[in-house]
Symmetry: C2
Subunit: 249 residues, 2 copies
Protein backbone atom coordinates (compact mmCIF):
# COMPACT_ATOMS: atom_id res chain seq x y z
CA UNK A 1 0.00 0.00 0.00
CA UNK A 2 1.25 3.47 -0.86
CA UNK A 3 2.15 5.73 2.04
CA UNK A 4 -0.54 8.22 2.98
CA UNK A 5 -0.15 11.83 1.97
CA UNK A 6 -0.29 14.67 4.48
CA UNK A 7 -0.25 18.40 4.04
CA UNK A 8 1.76 20.23 6.68
CA UNK A 9 1.27 23.95 7.17
CA UNK A 10 4.82 25.21 7.50
CA UNK A 11 5.56 28.73 8.66
CA UNK A 12 9.24 28.15 9.29
CA UNK A 13 8.83 28.63 13.04
CA UNK A 14 9.68 26.13 15.75
CA UNK A 15 6.12 24.86 16.15
CA UNK A 16 5.48 24.06 12.51
CA UNK A 17 8.98 22.54 12.16
CA UNK A 18 8.18 20.23 15.07
CA UNK A 19 4.78 19.45 13.59
CA UNK A 20 6.49 18.54 10.30
CA UNK A 21 8.86 16.19 12.16
CA UNK A 22 5.90 14.51 13.87
CA UNK A 23 4.08 13.97 10.55
CA UNK A 24 7.28 12.55 9.02
CA UNK A 25 7.76 10.29 12.02
CA UNK A 26 4.23 8.97 11.51
CA UNK A 27 5.22 7.86 8.02
CA UNK A 28 3.32 10.27 5.80
CA UNK A 29 4.46 11.45 2.39
CA UNK A 30 4.71 15.16 3.06
CA UNK A 31 3.39 18.14 1.12
CA UNK A 32 4.31 21.41 2.80
CA UNK A 33 2.34 24.62 2.40
CA UNK A 34 3.50 28.13 3.24
CA UNK A 35 1.95 31.53 2.65
CA UNK A 36 3.36 34.85 1.58
CA UNK A 37 0.79 37.11 3.19
CA UNK A 38 2.60 40.40 3.55
CA UNK A 39 4.22 39.34 6.78
CA UNK A 40 7.04 41.53 8.03
CA UNK A 41 9.10 38.51 8.82
CA UNK A 42 9.37 37.05 5.34
CA UNK A 43 12.68 35.42 6.24
CA UNK A 44 10.50 32.68 7.76
CA UNK A 45 9.52 31.64 4.20
CA UNK A 46 13.16 30.89 3.48
CA UNK A 47 13.31 28.76 6.62
CA UNK A 48 10.16 26.93 5.52
CA UNK A 49 11.64 26.19 2.12
CA UNK A 50 14.85 24.82 3.63
CA UNK A 51 12.96 22.66 6.13
CA UNK A 52 10.81 21.29 3.30
CA UNK A 53 13.83 20.61 1.07
CA UNK A 54 15.59 18.79 3.85
CA UNK A 55 12.83 16.21 4.19
CA UNK A 56 12.14 15.94 0.47
CA UNK A 57 8.65 17.41 0.75
CA UNK A 58 6.82 18.88 -2.19
CA UNK A 59 6.61 22.53 -1.17
CA UNK A 60 4.14 25.19 -2.26
CA UNK A 61 4.08 28.86 -1.36
CA UNK A 62 0.72 30.52 -1.88
CA UNK A 63 0.58 34.29 -2.28
CA UNK A 64 -2.29 35.92 -0.49
CA UNK A 65 -2.70 39.59 0.12
CA UNK A 66 -4.04 39.87 3.64
CA UNK A 67 -2.18 43.19 3.67
CA UNK A 68 -4.98 44.57 1.45
CA UNK A 69 -7.24 44.27 4.47
CA UNK A 70 -4.80 45.52 7.08
CA UNK A 71 -5.51 45.06 10.75
CA UNK A 72 -2.40 43.51 12.27
CA UNK A 73 1.04 44.53 13.44
CA UNK A 74 2.39 41.54 11.52
CA UNK A 75 1.24 42.91 8.18
CA UNK A 76 0.73 46.63 8.76
CA UNK A 77 3.18 49.34 9.57
CA UNK A 78 2.34 49.10 13.25
CA UNK A 79 5.13 48.52 15.70
CA UNK A 80 5.36 44.97 17.00
CA UNK A 81 4.93 45.15 20.77
CA UNK A 82 8.02 44.23 22.75
CA UNK A 83 8.62 43.25 26.35
CA UNK A 84 5.15 41.89 26.94
CA UNK A 85 5.75 39.17 29.46
CA UNK A 86 3.84 36.04 28.55
CA UNK A 87 2.57 34.62 31.79
CA UNK A 88 2.43 30.87 31.58
CA UNK A 89 0.24 30.62 34.66
CA UNK A 90 -2.47 32.87 33.31
CA UNK A 91 -2.21 31.26 29.88
CA UNK A 92 -2.71 27.85 31.44
CA UNK A 93 -5.75 29.16 33.30
CA UNK A 94 -7.18 30.49 30.08
CA UNK A 95 -7.06 27.13 28.42
CA UNK A 96 -8.81 25.54 31.38
CA UNK A 97 -11.41 28.17 32.00
CA UNK A 98 -12.01 29.25 28.44
CA UNK A 99 -10.65 32.13 26.56
CA UNK A 100 -9.77 35.36 28.26
CA UNK A 101 -10.81 38.54 26.48
CA UNK A 102 -7.97 40.66 27.56
CA UNK A 103 -5.12 39.12 25.81
CA UNK A 104 -5.64 39.05 22.05
CA UNK A 105 -2.63 41.01 20.91
CA UNK A 106 -2.19 43.42 18.03
CA UNK A 107 -0.07 40.81 16.27
CA UNK A 108 -3.24 38.77 15.64
CA UNK A 109 -3.88 38.49 11.90
CA UNK A 110 -7.61 38.38 11.15
CA UNK A 111 -8.90 34.93 10.23
CA UNK A 112 -5.38 33.80 9.37
CA UNK A 113 -5.63 30.16 10.35
CA UNK A 114 -9.07 29.96 8.74
CA UNK A 115 -7.59 31.13 5.46
CA UNK A 116 -4.53 28.89 5.77
CA UNK A 117 -6.59 25.79 6.61
CA UNK A 118 -8.98 26.57 3.75
CA UNK A 119 -6.12 26.50 1.26
CA UNK A 120 -4.82 23.30 2.84
CA UNK A 121 -8.28 21.81 2.42
CA UNK A 122 -8.33 22.72 -1.26
CA UNK A 123 -4.92 21.17 -1.85
CA UNK A 124 -5.82 18.06 0.17
CA UNK A 125 -8.85 17.60 -1.98
CA UNK A 126 -6.87 17.88 -5.19
CA UNK A 127 -4.11 15.55 -3.96
CA UNK A 128 -6.59 13.10 -2.44
CA UNK A 129 -4.74 13.54 0.82
CA UNK A 130 -6.68 12.66 3.96
CA UNK A 131 -4.57 14.49 6.49
CA UNK A 132 -3.62 18.07 7.30
CA UNK A 133 -1.16 18.97 10.06
CA UNK A 134 -1.12 22.38 11.69
CA UNK A 135 1.18 23.32 14.55
CA UNK A 136 -1.26 25.43 16.55
CA UNK A 137 -0.67 25.53 20.23
CA UNK A 138 -3.24 26.59 22.78
CA UNK A 139 -1.05 26.55 25.85
CA UNK A 140 2.10 28.65 25.55
CA UNK A 141 0.65 30.77 22.81
CA UNK A 142 -0.01 34.37 22.04
CA UNK A 143 -3.74 34.43 22.70
CA UNK A 144 -5.13 34.05 19.19
CA UNK A 145 -8.71 32.75 18.98
CA UNK A 146 -7.93 30.52 16.02
CA UNK A 147 -5.43 28.42 17.96
CA UNK A 148 -7.98 26.93 20.36
CA UNK A 149 -9.21 23.31 20.29
CA UNK A 150 -12.87 24.37 19.97
CA UNK A 151 -11.99 26.43 16.91
CA UNK A 152 -10.19 23.49 15.30
CA UNK A 153 -13.15 21.19 16.07
CA UNK A 154 -15.52 23.66 14.39
CA UNK A 155 -13.24 23.94 11.37
CA UNK A 156 -13.21 20.13 11.13
CA UNK A 157 -17.01 19.95 11.14
CA UNK A 158 -17.20 22.62 8.46
CA UNK A 159 -14.54 20.86 6.37
CA UNK A 160 -16.48 17.59 6.55
CA UNK A 161 -19.34 19.35 4.76
CA UNK A 162 -17.25 21.46 2.40
CA UNK A 163 -15.53 18.87 0.32
CA UNK A 164 -16.47 16.56 -2.47
CA UNK A 165 -14.71 13.70 -0.70
CA UNK A 166 -16.60 14.32 2.53
CA UNK A 167 -19.95 14.61 0.81
CA UNK A 168 -19.37 11.48 -1.16
CA UNK A 169 -18.61 9.68 2.08
CA UNK A 170 -15.38 8.43 0.56
CA UNK A 171 -13.18 9.95 3.17
CA UNK A 172 -12.75 12.66 5.68
CA UNK A 173 -9.92 15.12 5.56
CA UNK A 174 -8.68 15.17 9.13
CA UNK A 175 -7.05 18.20 10.76
CA UNK A 176 -4.22 17.06 13.05
CA UNK A 177 -2.99 19.36 15.81
CA UNK A 178 -0.31 17.35 17.58
CA UNK A 179 1.03 20.35 19.52
CA UNK A 180 -2.24 21.83 20.65
CA UNK A 181 -1.97 20.84 24.31
CA UNK A 182 1.81 20.86 24.65
CA UNK A 183 3.86 23.47 26.47
CA UNK A 184 6.65 25.13 24.54
CA UNK A 185 9.09 23.09 26.63
CA UNK A 186 7.33 19.87 25.63
CA UNK A 187 7.44 20.95 22.00
CA UNK A 188 11.20 21.57 22.20
CA UNK A 189 11.76 18.25 23.96
CA UNK A 190 9.71 16.29 21.41
CA UNK A 191 11.37 18.13 18.54
CA UNK A 192 14.86 17.38 19.82
CA UNK A 193 13.91 13.68 20.19
CA UNK A 194 12.88 13.77 16.52
CA UNK A 195 16.12 15.57 15.60
CA UNK A 196 14.56 18.81 14.50
CA UNK A 197 17.33 21.24 13.63
CA UNK A 198 15.97 24.36 15.30
CA UNK A 199 18.79 26.44 13.85
CA UNK A 200 16.80 26.20 10.60
CA UNK A 201 13.74 27.83 12.16
CA UNK A 202 12.75 31.35 13.07
CA UNK A 203 9.96 32.42 15.39
CA UNK A 204 10.57 36.15 15.75
CA UNK A 205 7.84 38.57 14.68
CA UNK A 206 10.35 41.30 13.93
CA UNK A 207 13.74 39.95 12.89
CA UNK A 208 16.50 41.97 11.24
CA UNK A 209 16.56 41.76 7.43
CA UNK A 210 19.31 39.17 7.85
CA UNK A 211 17.01 37.04 9.98
CA UNK A 212 18.38 37.72 13.46
CA UNK A 213 15.63 37.40 16.07
CA UNK A 214 14.81 40.39 18.27
CA UNK A 215 14.56 38.36 21.45
CA UNK A 216 11.88 40.62 22.83
CA UNK A 217 8.59 40.04 21.00
CA UNK A 218 6.01 37.55 22.28
CA UNK A 219 7.15 34.84 19.89
CA UNK A 220 10.83 35.16 20.91
CA UNK A 221 10.02 35.21 24.59
CA UNK A 222 7.76 32.14 24.41
CA UNK A 223 10.39 30.32 22.38
CA UNK A 224 13.23 31.18 24.75
CA UNK A 225 11.13 30.20 27.75
CA UNK A 226 10.43 26.86 26.06
CA UNK A 227 14.10 26.13 25.43
CA UNK A 228 14.99 27.25 28.92
CA UNK A 229 12.37 25.04 30.57
CA UNK A 230 13.39 22.10 28.39
CA UNK A 231 16.96 22.55 29.60
CA UNK A 232 18.15 23.11 26.05
CA UNK A 233 19.89 25.91 24.26
CA UNK A 234 18.20 27.73 21.40
CA UNK A 235 20.65 27.54 18.47
CA UNK A 236 19.41 30.65 16.67
CA UNK A 237 21.19 34.00 17.11
CA UNK A 238 19.50 36.88 18.91
CA UNK A 239 20.19 40.59 18.85
CA UNK A 240 22.70 41.69 21.45
CA UNK A 241 21.41 42.17 24.96
CA UNK A 242 18.27 40.19 24.32
CA UNK A 243 17.44 36.59 23.69
CA UNK A 244 18.92 33.92 25.87
CA UNK A 245 19.69 36.28 28.70
CA UNK A 246 16.25 37.84 28.61
CA UNK A 247 14.62 34.45 28.32
CA UNK A 248 16.34 32.93 31.27
CA UNK A 249 15.41 35.64 33.76
Amino acid sequence: MAAKKAIVLLSGGMDSATCLAIALHEGYVIYTLSFRYGQRHEVELECARRLADRCGARHRVVDIDLRAFGGSALTDDIEVPKERVPDSESLNNQIVEGFSNDDIPITYVPARNTIFLSFALAWAEVLAADDIFIGVNALDYSGYPDCRPEYIDAFQKMADLATKAGVEGRRRIKIHTPLIKMTKAEIVTRGLELRVDYSMTISCYDPTPGGVACGRCDACRLRLKGFSEAGAQDPVPYQQGTGRDAGST
Copy 2:
Protein backbone atom coordinates in the same frame (compact mmCIF):
# COMPACT_ATOMS: atom_id res chain seq x y z
CA MET B 1 -26.50 55.88 14.01
CA ALA B 2 -24.16 55.06 11.16
CA ALA B 3 -25.39 52.55 8.60
CA LYS B 4 -24.13 49.02 9.10
CA LYS B 5 -21.39 47.70 6.86
CA ALA B 6 -21.76 44.51 4.88
CA ILE B 7 -19.30 42.60 2.76
CA VAL B 8 -20.82 41.12 -0.38
CA LEU B 9 -18.99 38.37 -2.25
CA LEU B 10 -19.35 39.43 -5.85
CA SER B 11 -18.46 37.10 -8.69
CA GLY B 12 -20.14 39.15 -11.39
CA GLY B 13 -22.74 36.48 -12.04
CA MET B 14 -26.50 36.86 -11.75
CA ASP B 15 -26.72 35.36 -8.29
CA SER B 16 -24.14 37.58 -6.64
CA ALA B 17 -25.52 40.64 -8.45
CA THR B 18 -28.95 39.86 -7.01
CA CYS B 19 -27.43 39.26 -3.60
CA LEU B 20 -25.73 42.67 -3.82
CA ALA B 21 -29.07 44.30 -4.66
CA ILE B 22 -30.71 42.64 -1.66
CA ALA B 23 -27.97 43.85 0.70
CA LEU B 24 -28.28 47.37 -0.73
CA HIS B 25 -32.05 47.22 -0.34
CA GLU B 26 -31.56 46.30 3.32
CA GLY B 27 -29.64 49.54 3.81
CA TYR B 28 -26.11 48.35 4.33
CA VAL B 29 -23.00 50.27 3.36
CA ILE B 30 -21.50 47.86 0.88
CA TYR B 31 -17.97 46.49 0.55
CA THR B 32 -17.66 44.11 -2.39
CA LEU B 33 -15.09 41.36 -2.62
CA SER B 34 -14.03 39.45 -5.72
CA PHE B 35 -11.29 36.92 -6.36
CA ARG B 36 -8.89 36.38 -9.20
CA TYR B 37 -8.28 32.68 -8.78
CA GLY B 38 -7.12 31.57 -12.19
CA GLN B 39 -10.67 31.21 -13.47
CA ARG B 40 -11.06 30.79 -17.20
CA HIS B 41 -13.90 33.28 -17.22
CA GLU B 42 -12.00 36.31 -15.95
CA VAL B 43 -14.42 38.61 -17.77
CA GLU B 44 -16.65 38.12 -14.72
CA LEU B 45 -14.20 40.23 -12.71
CA GLU B 46 -14.88 43.15 -15.02
CA CYS B 47 -18.63 42.65 -14.48
CA ALA B 48 -18.06 42.60 -10.73
CA ARG B 49 -16.11 45.84 -10.85
CA ARG B 50 -18.83 47.58 -12.85
CA LEU B 51 -21.58 46.33 -10.57
CA ALA B 52 -19.62 47.57 -7.56
CA ASP B 53 -18.93 50.95 -9.16
CA ARG B 54 -22.56 51.40 -9.99
CA CYS B 55 -23.65 51.15 -6.37
CA GLY B 56 -20.69 53.08 -4.98
CA ALA B 57 -19.28 50.10 -3.12
CA ARG B 58 -15.70 49.90 -2.00
CA HIS B 59 -14.41 47.07 -4.14
CA ARG B 60 -11.48 44.73 -3.54
CA VAL B 61 -10.10 42.02 -5.76
CA VAL B 62 -7.98 39.45 -3.98
CA ASP B 63 -5.51 37.40 -5.97
CA ILE B 64 -5.34 33.78 -4.98
CA ASP B 65 -3.64 31.04 -6.88
CA LEU B 66 -5.98 28.09 -6.65
CA ARG B 67 -4.53 27.15 -10.02
CA ALA B 68 -1.37 26.07 -8.21
CA PHE B 69 -3.41 23.20 -6.78
CA GLY B 70 -5.34 22.32 -9.92
CA GLY B 71 -8.35 20.05 -9.79
CA SER B 72 -11.14 21.85 -11.62
CA ALA B 73 -12.27 22.52 -15.15
CA LEU B 74 -12.75 26.13 -14.12
CA THR B 75 -9.07 26.62 -13.40
CA ASP B 76 -7.32 23.81 -15.26
CA ASP B 77 -6.98 23.12 -18.92
CA ILE B 78 -9.86 20.68 -18.79
CA GLU B 79 -12.77 21.18 -21.11
CA VAL B 80 -15.88 22.63 -19.50
CA PRO B 81 -18.67 20.09 -19.94
CA LYS B 82 -21.47 21.21 -22.22
CA GLU B 83 -25.00 20.03 -22.79
CA ARG B 84 -25.42 18.56 -19.33
CA VAL B 85 -29.11 19.00 -18.72
CA PRO B 86 -29.69 20.32 -15.21
CA ASP B 87 -32.74 18.52 -13.96
CA SER B 88 -34.68 20.73 -11.62
CA GLU B 89 -36.73 17.83 -10.30
CA SER B 90 -33.74 15.78 -9.22
CA LEU B 91 -32.01 18.87 -7.85
CA ASN B 92 -35.06 19.64 -5.76
CA ASN B 93 -35.04 16.09 -4.47
CA GLN B 94 -31.42 16.41 -3.50
CA ILE B 95 -32.09 19.40 -1.31
CA VAL B 96 -34.91 17.55 0.43
CA GLU B 97 -33.27 14.18 0.77
CA GLY B 98 -29.73 15.30 1.33
CA PHE B 99 -26.93 15.49 -1.09
CA SER B 100 -26.65 13.11 -3.99
CA ASN B 101 -23.21 11.71 -4.73
CA ASP B 102 -23.54 11.45 -8.41
CA ASP B 103 -23.72 15.00 -9.41
CA ILE B 104 -20.68 16.93 -8.28
CA PRO B 105 -19.34 18.16 -11.59
CA ILE B 106 -15.81 18.67 -12.81
CA THR B 107 -16.36 22.45 -12.64
CA TYR B 108 -16.30 22.21 -8.83
CA VAL B 109 -13.36 24.21 -7.46
CA PRO B 110 -11.98 22.57 -4.30
CA ALA B 111 -12.90 24.43 -1.12
CA ARG B 112 -13.65 27.58 -3.10
CA ASN B 113 -16.43 28.99 -0.97
CA THR B 114 -14.49 28.11 2.17
CA ILE B 115 -11.55 30.15 0.92
CA PHE B 116 -13.78 33.02 -0.26
CA LEU B 117 -15.72 33.19 3.01
CA SER B 118 -12.47 33.04 4.98
CA PHE B 119 -11.19 36.15 3.21
CA ALA B 120 -14.54 37.85 3.75
CA LEU B 121 -14.26 37.00 7.42
CA ALA B 122 -10.82 38.59 7.61
CA TRP B 123 -12.01 41.76 5.93
CA ALA B 124 -15.15 41.91 8.07
CA GLU B 125 -13.00 41.71 11.15
CA VAL B 126 -10.75 44.54 10.00
CA LEU B 127 -13.69 46.74 8.94
CA ALA B 128 -15.69 45.90 12.07
CA ALA B 129 -18.47 44.78 9.73
CA ASP B 130 -21.00 42.38 11.20
CA ASP B 131 -22.46 41.03 8.00
CA ILE B 132 -21.29 38.99 5.02
CA PHE B 133 -23.55 38.23 2.06
CA ILE B 134 -22.93 35.31 -0.27
CA GLY B 135 -25.20 34.39 -3.16
CA VAL B 136 -25.02 30.63 -2.81
CA ASN B 137 -28.02 28.75 -4.00
CA ALA B 138 -28.85 25.18 -3.07
CA LEU B 139 -31.80 24.65 -5.34
CA ASP B 140 -31.12 25.38 -9.00
CA TYR B 141 -27.43 24.92 -8.59
CA SER B 142 -24.64 22.87 -10.05
CA GLY B 143 -24.26 20.35 -7.25
CA TYR B 144 -21.38 21.85 -5.28
CA PRO B 145 -21.11 20.70 -1.64
CA ASP B 146 -20.21 24.18 -0.40
CA CYS B 147 -23.52 25.69 -1.52
CA ARG B 148 -25.68 23.74 0.93
CA PRO B 149 -27.37 25.20 4.01
CA GLU B 150 -25.68 22.72 6.35
CA TYR B 151 -22.30 23.77 5.03
CA ILE B 152 -23.08 27.45 5.61
CA ASP B 153 -24.31 26.68 9.15
CA ALA B 154 -21.05 24.88 9.91
CA PHE B 155 -19.02 27.76 8.50
CA GLN B 156 -20.98 30.14 10.72
CA LYS B 157 -20.22 28.09 13.84
CA MET B 158 -16.54 27.99 12.93
CA ALA B 159 -16.49 31.73 12.24
CA ASP B 160 -18.02 32.45 15.64
CA LEU B 161 -14.95 30.83 17.21
CA ALA B 162 -12.37 32.14 14.75
CA THR B 163 -12.56 35.86 15.27
CA LYS B 164 -11.44 38.27 17.88
CA ALA B 165 -14.87 39.92 17.84
CA GLY B 166 -16.65 36.62 18.38
CA VAL B 167 -14.34 35.56 21.18
CA GLU B 168 -14.68 38.87 22.91
CA GLY B 169 -18.46 38.47 22.73
CA ARG B 170 -18.69 41.91 21.20
CA ARG B 171 -20.40 40.79 18.08
CA ARG B 172 -21.00 37.96 15.70
CA ILE B 173 -20.14 38.17 12.04
CA LYS B 174 -23.23 36.77 10.39
CA ILE B 175 -23.18 34.96 7.03
CA HIS B 176 -26.30 35.90 5.03
CA THR B 177 -27.46 33.63 2.20
CA PRO B 178 -30.62 35.31 0.92
CA LEU B 179 -30.77 33.17 -2.24
CA ILE B 180 -30.09 29.80 -0.70
CA LYS B 181 -33.60 28.41 -1.01
CA MET B 182 -34.72 30.34 -4.10
CA THR B 183 -35.16 28.88 -7.56
CA LYS B 184 -33.33 30.62 -10.40
CA ALA B 185 -36.70 31.97 -11.53
CA GLU B 186 -37.33 33.46 -8.08
CA ILE B 187 -33.84 34.99 -8.12
CA VAL B 188 -34.52 36.63 -11.50
CA THR B 189 -37.93 37.88 -10.33
CA ARG B 190 -36.53 39.34 -7.12
CA GLY B 191 -33.60 40.89 -8.98
CA LEU B 192 -35.84 42.54 -11.52
CA GLU B 193 -38.00 43.96 -8.70
CA LEU B 194 -34.81 45.46 -7.26
CA ARG B 195 -33.82 46.75 -10.71
CA VAL B 196 -30.74 44.62 -11.15
CA ASP B 197 -29.32 45.27 -14.59
CA TYR B 198 -28.58 41.70 -15.63
CA SER B 199 -26.90 42.91 -18.81
CA MET B 200 -24.00 43.81 -16.49
CA THR B 201 -23.61 40.23 -15.29
CA ILE B 202 -22.13 37.08 -16.74
CA SER B 203 -22.72 33.52 -15.56
CA CYS B 204 -21.05 31.47 -18.30
CA TYR B 205 -18.20 29.13 -17.33
CA ASP B 206 -16.65 29.36 -20.78
CA PRO B 207 -17.36 32.69 -22.50
CA THR B 208 -15.54 34.02 -25.54
CA PRO B 209 -12.63 36.39 -24.76
CA GLY B 210 -15.07 39.23 -25.52
CA GLY B 211 -17.44 37.94 -22.84
CA VAL B 212 -20.13 36.29 -24.96
CA ALA B 213 -21.74 33.40 -23.09
CA CYS B 214 -21.60 29.91 -24.57
CA GLY B 215 -25.23 29.14 -23.79
CA ARG B 216 -24.44 25.49 -23.26
CA CYS B 217 -22.55 25.04 -19.98
CA ASP B 218 -24.38 24.29 -16.70
CA ALA B 219 -24.29 27.91 -15.61
CA CYS B 220 -25.75 29.21 -18.87
CA ARG B 221 -28.47 26.60 -18.94
CA LEU B 222 -29.52 27.21 -15.35
CA ARG B 223 -29.55 30.95 -16.00
CA LEU B 224 -31.59 30.66 -19.17
CA LYS B 225 -34.03 28.31 -17.49
CA GLY B 226 -34.41 30.86 -14.68
CA PHE B 227 -35.18 33.71 -17.04
CA SER B 228 -37.52 31.54 -19.05
CA GLU B 229 -39.47 30.41 -15.99
CA ALA B 230 -39.62 33.98 -14.68
CA GLY B 231 -41.16 35.02 -18.00
CA ALA B 232 -38.30 37.43 -18.60
CA GLN B 233 -35.69 37.80 -21.28
CA ASP B 234 -32.01 37.45 -20.48
CA PRO B 235 -30.36 40.64 -21.79
CA VAL B 236 -26.88 39.17 -22.26
CA PRO B 237 -25.76 37.95 -25.69
CA TYR B 238 -25.17 34.27 -26.38
CA GLN B 239 -23.21 32.51 -29.07
CA GLN B 240 -25.22 31.77 -32.15
CA GLY B 241 -27.44 28.73 -32.08
CA THR B 242 -27.35 28.48 -28.31
CA GLY B 243 -28.67 30.50 -25.43
CA ARG B 244 -32.25 31.61 -25.44
CA ASP B 245 -33.34 28.97 -27.89
CA ALA B 246 -31.57 26.20 -26.03
CA GLY B 247 -32.87 27.44 -22.71
CA SER B 248 -36.49 27.59 -23.73
CA THR B 249 -36.74 24.03 -24.98
